[in-house]
Symmetry: C2
Subunit: 140 residues, 2 copies
DNA sequence: ATCTAAATGAAACTAAATTTCATTTAGATG
DNA sequence: CATCTAAATGAAATTTAGTTTCATTTAGAT
């Protein structure tokens, strides 16, 4: 029946109301969000405790339903892995986050083993600047 | 006389014993370090308080003597700006950090404005994996 | 040598995240 | 369906990184 139920079953974990709600929130929010943002998002339903949000996001990370994203403020955020590997544009003015789905870094990853004798297994790139909207009316 | 004194004068800030020691530590450690790592490094001299370390690193960042570096653990680290813009290889096994001095991303930065109408002003790339040493003896 | 605005640091505080532990519950079993 | 138990939950306590406050000290100007 419910989409979230399916997903929880597919990872072989117990289906609880809390887990369903947290997963739903992550899917609906559709951007990197902190545990507290998930908690706030669900606060009106009043059915999930903070601790459970933290724990559940950790579980989801292990089960690869979400990935952890760290921006310059150091806060742990999580986003659905529904979108594959990608990078982020983050607006320094309004904070909006835009995904860049193409990744030109993979070839770099591979050259590193030759040049540095270092085996790259993952990489994170974030680009900061100013979005279209926030540049409106500013002298170009 | 002292190298650190020169530098502090050059940024037009008061030369205090604490600032000299913190700057010296940053230069000697020559890698991204947290305020607490600087504090520990100086703990034997017993001449700098934790608060001063935090505040001084912040000052140094404003004055562009150091830059802030955030890895996956979200802890604020600082490194000398002596080395220009570069990226990091971080070993997931031993934690060692290696700089990659060439940056192939700048051209990406420029293409973003056309593709996303987003003006990139800075970017951060970190590559995680396993260094030469930590791969010793492992099946390739 | 004197003076003062700035710097320092101990202690209090904040915010994010983790741990503890008593209570509840999903879902397996009969 | 009723019973049972290991797992999940959440309030509260704790930890950790970082910030703020404020009384005291000090760099360096005069
Ligand atoms: Mn994303
Ligand atoms: Mn570096
Ligand atoms: Zn914006
Ligand atoms: Zn290593």
């Amino acid at each position: 029946m419910d989409r979230t139920n399916e997903i929880l079953k597919s990872i072989g974990e117990k289906c609880t109301e809390q887990r369903r709600l947290i997963l739903k929130a992550i899917l609906e929010l559709a951007k990197p969000v902190s545990a507290d943002e998930v908690y706030e998002y669900l606060s009106d339903t009043n059915s999930v405790g903070r601790t459970t949000v933290y724990r559940t996001l950790e579980l989801f990370e292990q089960k690869k339903l979400v990935r952890r994203v760290i921006f310059r403020d150091g806060i742990m955020r999580y986003e659905s892995t529904h979108l594959g590997h990608h990078h982020h544009l983050i607006c320094l003015s309004c904070g909006k986050v835009f995904p860049i789905e193409s990744c030109t870094i993979v070839s770099l990853d591979e050259s590193i083993i030759d040049e540095f004798d270092f085996l790259v297994t993952e990489h994170f790139l974030e680009l900061y600047g100013y979005c279209k909207n926030c540049r409106k009316g500013e002298k170009k």
